[in-house]
C-alpha cells in the first residue's frame, strides 16, 4: 500500500482505541474533503466526464473496512468508498487524476470517477455492473490460497440494491463453497438510486442472507464509527483467522444524491430525521471530543491539513495533460501480434 504523501495515517498503537478511531476519523475527514471538492468542481463544470458519485454519510463504514485491511489483502471498493480507498492506500492525487481525467491517473483517462484501482496492489477497479466484483475477489483469494499465502483477506462493498443481482448470489455462494477468507460489506443506505428497500427485497433483514451462503452475519450502525470499527474489525479478523466468509450489513442513510446531478428529493423526511439520517462525521467528531482524544482546534487543524492536501492535489492535477487520442495505444490486447490488422489499420 502506498499511502498519501502527507497523510501517513497508521495508528501508532493499533490496539489503542483512540489511535484507531482518530486515524479512521481523519481518513473520513480527508474523504469528505475530496468529495466536497469534487462536488464543487462538478458544479463548476470542471469534471471532464460530467458526473461525480460521492460517499457522503458513508465515510465511517467505508473507512473502517479500509483500515481493517492490510498489505497482501484484496480490496474491491464500490461507488461510495472514497474513504475506504484512501484508508486502504489510495492517494488523493490518484483519486483526483481519475476524476479529472489526467493521463497520469491509474486509468489514464480510459476509465473515470469511481472506476479506478491498482490491481497489482490488491486494489481492484470496479466495473459498473453491480455484484460483478464479488467473484473476482473470490478468484484472487483462490489464487492466493493455491499459492500457499496465508492470513490474507478479501473484501468488497455493495449497496443494498446491488444484492438483488444474480452476480451477488453466484459470488456469495461461491465464496461459501470455497470457504474463502472473504468479507462482504453491504451498506444499506435505504435507496438504490430512487428505489426504496421495499421495492428491492422482501427479507426481514439482509442479515438473513448470510445463512443462505454459509456466511457469518454482522450488523453495524453505519452512522457510528465506533460500531463500524468494531463490526468490520471483527469480521475481517474472523475471516483472516479461518472463520470463513463474513457478511456485514451496515445501516445508514445516503446523505447525497445518487450522483451530484440528483437532488434526492425522493428521500423520505422520516428517514432524514431518524437515527439513520445522522451524519457519521458529526457523530464521530462528537466522540473524539467527548473522549478528549482531540479538541475542536486540533480537529480544525486536521481539516485544514486535509483541505490543503486536496487543494494542492487539484492544482497539480489541473496542470497535468489529458490523454492524447493521437498517441493513445488503441489496443485492447496485450498480445499485439494477435491484433486484427484490418480493424487496427
Amino acid at each position: 500500500m502506498v499511502t498519501s504523501p502527507i497523510f501517513d495515517l497508521r495508528p501508532s498503537d493499533p490496539t489503542a482505541e483512540r489511535d484507531i478511531f482518530v486515524t479512521t476519523f481523519r481518513w473520513m475527514l480527508l474523504a469528505r474533503t475530496v468529495d466536497e471538492k469534487l462536488a464543487g468542481l462538478y458544479r463548476a463544470g470542471k469534471i471532464p466526464g460530467g458526473g461525480v458519485y460521492l460517499g457522503k454519510g458513508q465515510e465511517a463504514v467505508s473507512a473502517s473496512l479500509g483500515v481493517s485491511l492490510q498489505q497482501g489483502d484484496v480490496y474491491a471498493p464500490l461507488i461510495r468508498d472514497g474513504a475506504g480507498r484512501l484508508a486502504f492506500g489510495e492517494t488523493v492525487i490518484e483519486a483526483l487524476r481519475t476524476c479529472l481525467g489526467s493521463v497520469l491517473g491509474p486509468m489514464r483517462g480510459r476509465d473515470g470517477n469511481v472506476h479506478r484501482g491498482r490491481p497489482k496492489d490488491g486494489y481492484l477497479p470496479m466495473i459498473s455492473h453491480l455484484g460483478a466484483m464479488i467473484s473476482v475477489v473470490n478468484g484472487a483469494l483462490m489464487a492466493k490460497r493455491r499459492r500457499g499465502e496465508q492470513h490474507f483477506v478479501g473484501a468488497t462493498c455493495l449497496g443494498e440494491g446491488g444484492t438483488s443481482t444474480g452476480a451477488f448470489h453466484e459470488g456469495m455462494n461461491q465464496a461459501g463453497v470455497e470457504r474463502l477468507p472473504f468479507v462482504m460489506l453491504v451498506t444499506d443506505n435505504q435507496y438504490a438510486y430512487s428505489t426504496p428497500t421495499s421495492r428491492q427485497f422482501a427479507c426481514k433483514s439482509l442479515e438473513s442472507r448470510a445463512a443462505a451462503y454459509g456466511f457469518q452475519a454482522h450488523s453495524i450502525d453505519g452512522t457510528n464509527l465506533a460500531d463500524c470499527l468494531r463490526g468490520l474489525g471483527s469480521a475481517v479478523t474472523q475471516a483472516r483467522n479461518g472463520g470463513g466468509p463474513q457478511l456485514v450489513i451496515a445501516r445508514l442513510l445516503r446523505l447525497c444524491g445518487h450522483g451530484e446531478h440528483d437532488d434526492a428529493s425522493y428521500v423520505d423526511d422520516r428517514l432524514k430525521n431518524s437515527p439513520l439520517g445522522r451524519d457519521c462525521m458529526v457523530v464521530a467528531e462528537q466522540r473524539v471530543i467527548a473522549e478528549g482524544w482531540a479538541d475542536k482546534q486540533e480537529i480544525q487543524s486536521w481539516r485544514a491539513q486535509a483541505s490543503s492536501e486536496v487543494e494542492a492535489a487539484v492544482v497539480q492535477v489541473q496542470t497535468e495533460a489529458s490523454p492524447d487520442p493521437y498517441t493513445e495505444r488503441w489496443s485492447a490486447l496485450k498480445s499485439t501480434h494477435l491484433l486484427d490488422g484490418f480493424l487496427n489499420a
Binding site: I47, P48, G49, S164, A192, T195, W330
Partner: protein, 321 residues
C-alpha cells in the same frame, strides 16, 4: 412547441399506456422517480400501478416480461443503460426470442435500451449492443435516429407481437428536437432516405445519421451530393432501399457507432457486396468505433467513435476510388 427525442419516448409510452390496458412499464427507478433519464416522468402518477420499480435484477425483469406476455400483457422494460442488459441477455435471446418459435404463443415485449456514447460515460455506460440482439433469431431491433421515429417506432414496438429491442440513443435524448410529434410514419422494417444524393451513399443508423447528414451538408457546399440512408431498424434490414440507393450512387460507406468486428456495418456491406455487386463503382467501405472499450475521457471518446470529421475523411477517400 418543440419536443425532444427523450420527450417523444415519454409521450409514446404515455400514449401506449393510455391506449392499451395490457401495457405496463417495469424497470429500475421508472416509477415515481420517472427513470434515470426521465423517460417515464410523470407516468407512474398518470397511470397508477402500471409503471413500477424493479429490483436491480435484469434477468428477472426480462423473464417476468415474458411470463406476463404469455398471459396477454404487453410489457415495456426499461434497462437503465443498454450496458446493463447483459445480465438480462440470457432471458432475451433464449427465453423471449424463442418463445413464439417454440410454442406459437406471441411474445409482445419491448425492451428499451438507452444506448450509445455520450461524453464521459466510459466503458460501461456507452455501449451500442444492437448487433448482439440482431444476431439472434426471434427479435426485432429498432434504432430510431429522429424524434419522429423515436415516437412512432416505440408505439409500433409495443404493438408488434414479437419482442422488440428498442435502442434509443442517449446522445440524442436532449439535443435532438422536432416541432411536434408525428401523425404518420414509415412502417418499421423500412429504411428512409434521409437526404437524397447522387454521388455516394452513406448508410447509417441512430446517432450516426446526424453525423452523416452533417457530412452531406459539408460536401454539398463543394458540389458533392451525398445520399444518406437511415436504416431505422437493423433487424430486419431493408436491403432494397440500400440497393436502390447504391444503384443511384455507385458508392457506399456504412457507418456505425458500435465496435468494428461484425455488427451492422459488416452485415450491410456484405449484403451490398452480394446484392449490388454490379452496381458498385468502388469497393464498399465501413466506419465503426475503434476496437477497444469505450474510453471515459471526452478527448479519447471523440476519436474512438466515428464523427462527422472521420466520416468526411472516409467519404473523400471513397470518392477518389
Amino acid at each position: 412547441m418543440s419536443v425532444t427525442y427523450l420527450e417523444a419516448i415519454r409521450e409514446a409510452q404515455a400514449r401506449a399506456l393510455a391506449d392499451d390496458p395490457r401495457v405496463y412499464i417495469y424497470g429500475q427507478d421508472v416509477g415515481s422517480f420517472g427513470g434515470a433519464f426521465k423517460a417515464t416522468k410523470g407516468l407512474a402518477q398518470q397511470f397508477p400501478g402500471r409503471v413500477f420499480d424493479a429490483p436491480i435484477s435484469e434477468d428477472a425483469m426480462v423473464g417476468s416480461a415474458v411470463g406476463a406476455a404469455i398471459e396477454g400483457m404487453r410489457p415495456i422494460i426499461e434497462m437503465q443503460f443498454a450496458d446493463f442488459s447483459t445480465p438480462g441477455f440470457n432471458q432475451i435471446i433464449n427465453q423471449a426470442a424463442t418463445l413464439y418459435w417454440r410454442t406459437q404463443i406471441p411474445c409482445p415485449i419491448t425492451i428499451r435500451l438507452p444506448s450509445g456514447g455520450t461524453s464521459g460515460s466510459g466503458p460501461f455506460h456507452s455501449q451500442s449492443m444492437e448487433a448482439l440482439f440482431a444476431h439472434y433469431p426471434g427479435l426485432i431491433v429498432m434504432t430510431p435516429a429522429t424524434v419522429e421515429d423515436a415516437y412512432s417506432m416505440l408505439l409500433e414496438a409495443v404493438a408488434i407481437d414479437d419482442p422488440v429491442i428498442f435502442c434509443e440513443h442517449k446522445f440524442l435524448y436532449y439535443h435532438l428536437k422536432a416541432d411536434k410529434l408525428p401523425t404518420e410514419s414509415i412502417p418499421a422494417g423500412k429504411a428512409r432516405v434521409a437526404r437524397p444524393g447522387r454521388d455516394l451513399t452513406i448508410v447509417a443508423y441512430s446517432a450516426m445519421v446526424h453525423e452523416a447528414l452533417a457530412v452531406a451538408e459539408e460536401l454539398a457546399l463543394e458540389g458533392t451530393e451525398i445520399e444518406v440512408v437511415d436504416l431505422r431498424t437493423i433487424k430486419p434490414i431493408d436491403t432494397d432501399t440500400i440497393v436502390a440507393s447504391v444503384a443511384r450512387t455507385g458508392r457506399v460507406l456504412v457507418v456505425g457507432e458500435a465496435f468494428p468486428w461484425g455488427g451492422v456495418t459488416a452485415e450491410v456491406v456484405a449484403r451490398v457486396a452480394t446484392e449490388a455487386f454490379g452496381l458498385l463503382d468502388a469497393p464498399p467501405q465501413r466506419l465503426n468505433a475503434k476496437d477497444t472499450p469505450i474510453p471515459y475521457h471526452p478527448d479519447l471518446w471523440a476519436v474512438h467513435r466515428p464523427t462527422a470529421r472521420s466520416i468526411s475523411a472516409a467519404v473523400r477517400n471513397l470518392l477518389q476510388m
